[in-house]
Amino acid sequence: MADSEQDELADIDAGRRRFLKVATAGLAAGALGVLFSDKILEVFGATPLDTRAVSGTDAQWVMLIDLAKCDGCGQCTAGCRDAHFVPQGQEWITVFKVQDELGAQYFLPRPCMQCENAPCLKVCPVGATFRRDDGVVFIDHNRCIGCRYCMAACPYSARSFNWGEPAHTPAEMAHAYSIEEPWPHRKGTVEKCMFCAHRAKEGKLPACVAACTKEMGNGAIYFGDLREDAVSNGVETLPLAETLAKRGGFRFKSELGTKPRVWYLPPRR
């Protein structure tokens, strides 16, 4: 009896030692994996996080929307759709009709706010949403798993989802996907406005700005570089800080602390 109990004890001891060895080795391997995850990903050909965030410019893109000028024509939405082959049912810039507390009506175009403190970016489980060093929030449609947590988190409802296979056009299909120009659009992934960063690189204003100016002669949407403190609608250029101060500029839901890169000038009363 004593013998068998002795054996049992030895067995348990050996088992424990084996367990501790395997567990320690496993933990060590795991820790090394976490520490050198970037290097390991590189070996397997994955893009390290940092290179995606490099824009190649020093600019900090911002937008200014003059609500006193917006007449709700929707040309910005159409121009954006044509420029990006925006899938049916989606609007990357939406024009809302708003009734203010005194009964006056005005229009509020809403692109993605490119928040400095972006709620969508925080919640993404796989880093598919990221912020580039020029302030633009992008989506990597090859990484997005379609959990839609970002849509639940966005206080501006600025994100859309490809619920099914989007209806494609030949011109869209002929294009090669890139994060800046994400078409052909991909089923099961989230989409949104990206400030037309690909056009900014070529020195062109965003599609919505161009469409608005073309329609109105002197457009309601301005785009520019925060460092230069200047925004332009293609016809006139405004000093940003001064205009905001003089005309009561504001940011949409600024109380949330999201720090949008889109400013508004109040509507006419």
Partner: protein
């Protein structure tokens, strides 16, 4: 009494299976098959086959996820708390509770995957996982909980497996499982002490893990800036709601197994009454939390809060909301507190009402918050499609099926634990005096 002797009543379900059981399994399998078909439809058509849209982008898949995670607290938390507090009457129901836990987590964990737009990219969570995202917190805590619960379920099965392996020949598959668990179990004093110690440690470890799981599930919502979600009450609210629906589910399971497997000797009126009182206590806490949540929002009366509350109280969700509050919280409170309705029938009726109400509660957590406009915009409309309902039905069928099959593989009442209770010198303490059945 012989250590290796088992009560024939407890082994009977393992030895004999009636045709009714097979018919039931076939029925449940058919529902599961319908769900699989629905999912295949969704895989080819994308989530477009659901009623979800850009405004209400989470629906009943996420409700089911929260519901099943809630159910899972039946088990481990109840049986662990009762074990830690030395409530001896727990013995016949611990395994029933613990197996609910394991099965419910396994089913809950599937729902976020069903809800994914790109399930083919699931592995990105490993390749690119960001600890800043509450989804990763969920991933980790649910994996920990599942592992811990399987351990906590299996440990007390070891002595039973030894008995079954030695005394009964129940076929190759089951013997393989019994061997896996109890091959080296001799029943020596040393082994028994080790086992008791291990179970004791697991009972304590599993409590914070279970609390963390439902807290983290609530944080998925709580960490956003949405109306109705962005509140500190969500963590405790979810945890209490989980235990609440967990006990209700356990009570229903007890009634079914008692009837079908003739366990009247083991599962007595006392068990129903004790758990019924625990359920009543949690019901009152839920009513209190519900009041706190809505009154806080209503009194401050921020614009968005008012819109959201109106939708719940008088708008499109009002029928569901008031049915939940009255039918699922208030009526059960009366059923559970009146002596005349505190019978097995009354308690089980309350449990069924509560489980239905808790599913509705999960739905009312997810959908109205998403429907409330965040921008000057129309209200979102969401009507789940047959695909979503089929997958939901399949999940409930799969739960029942796995539970039924489990009861055919292992005795649903822990044989060695109830024997130890009957041998215990001191009388088992109970919440209230022994009541004649």
């Amino acid at each position: 009494m012989d250590e290796m002797e088992a009560d024939p009543v407890l082994v009977a379900p393992l030895r004999r299976t009636t045709w009714r059981f097979y018919v039931m399994c076939a029925g449940l399998l058919a529902v599961v098959a319908l769900g699989v078909y629905a999912y295949v439809t969704q895989l080819s058509g994308g989530l477009a086959v659901t009623g979800l849209n850009d405004t209400i982008s989470w629906g009943i898949y996420i409700s089911n996820f929260v519901f099943f995670i809630g159910i899972s607290h039946a088990g481990t938390l109840i049986s662990a708390i009762l074990r830690v507090t030395n409530a001896d009457w727990r013995r016949p129901i611990t395994r029933m509770a613990e197996s609910i836990t394991v099965i419910a987590i396994a089913i809950a964990a599937v729902f976020p995957l069903i809800d994914l737009g790109r399930p083919d990219r699931l592995l990105n969570v490993f390749a690119y996982g960001r600890l800043q995202s509450a989804i990763l917190w969920d991933f980790l805590s649910i994996a920990t909980y599942l592992t811990g619960s399987i351990l906590y379920l299996s440990l007390p099965m070891i002595p039973d497996a030894a008995i079954l392996r030695a005394k009964h020949s129940l076929g190759r598959f089951r013997n393989f499982l019994y061997n896996l668990l109890a091959k080296r179990w001799t029943g020596s004093r040393r082994q028994k002490m080790g086992l008791e110690k291990a179970i004791g440690i697991m009972a304590i470890v599993i409590i914070p893990v279970a609390v963390s799981v439902h807290t983290v599930v609530s944080w998925i919502f709580g960490m956003t800036l949405r109306v109705g979600w962005h509140t500190a009450i969500y963590g405790p609210y979810f945890v209490v709601g989980a235990i609440f629906s967990g006990i209700a589910t356990l009570l229903i399971a007890m009634a079914v197994f008692r009837r079908v497997y003739h366990l009247e000797k083991y599962i007595t009126v006392k068990h129903f009454r004790n758990l019924g009182l625990l359920l009543l206590a949690l019901d009152i806490v839920i009513i209190y939390f519900t009041l706190s949540e809505y009154l806080t929002a209503a009194y401050g009366a921020e614009e968005q809060d008012v819109a959201w509350l109106n939708a719940l109280w008088t708008g499109p969700f009002s029928l569901l909301f008031w049915s939940m509050v009255v039918g699922g919280f208030v009526v059960p409170a009366f059923l559970l507190s009146w002596r005349r309705t505190r019978t097995i029938g009354g308690i089980v009726a309350a449990a069924i009402l509560i489980d239905v109400a808790m599913w509705v509660e999960r739905f009312l957590i997810v959908v109205p918050s998403m429907a409330t406009p965040q921008v000057p915009f129309d209200w979102g409309v969401y009507q789940p499609t047959w695909v979503e309902w089929s997958i939901t039905a399949a999940s409930f069928a799969a739960f029942a099926l796995l539970y039924a099959v489990f009861s055919k593989v292992f005795p649903i009442v822990s044989m060695w634990e109830v024997r130890e209770e009957s041998q215990a010198p001191a009388p088992a303490p109970s919440v209230e005096g022994e009541v004649p059945a």
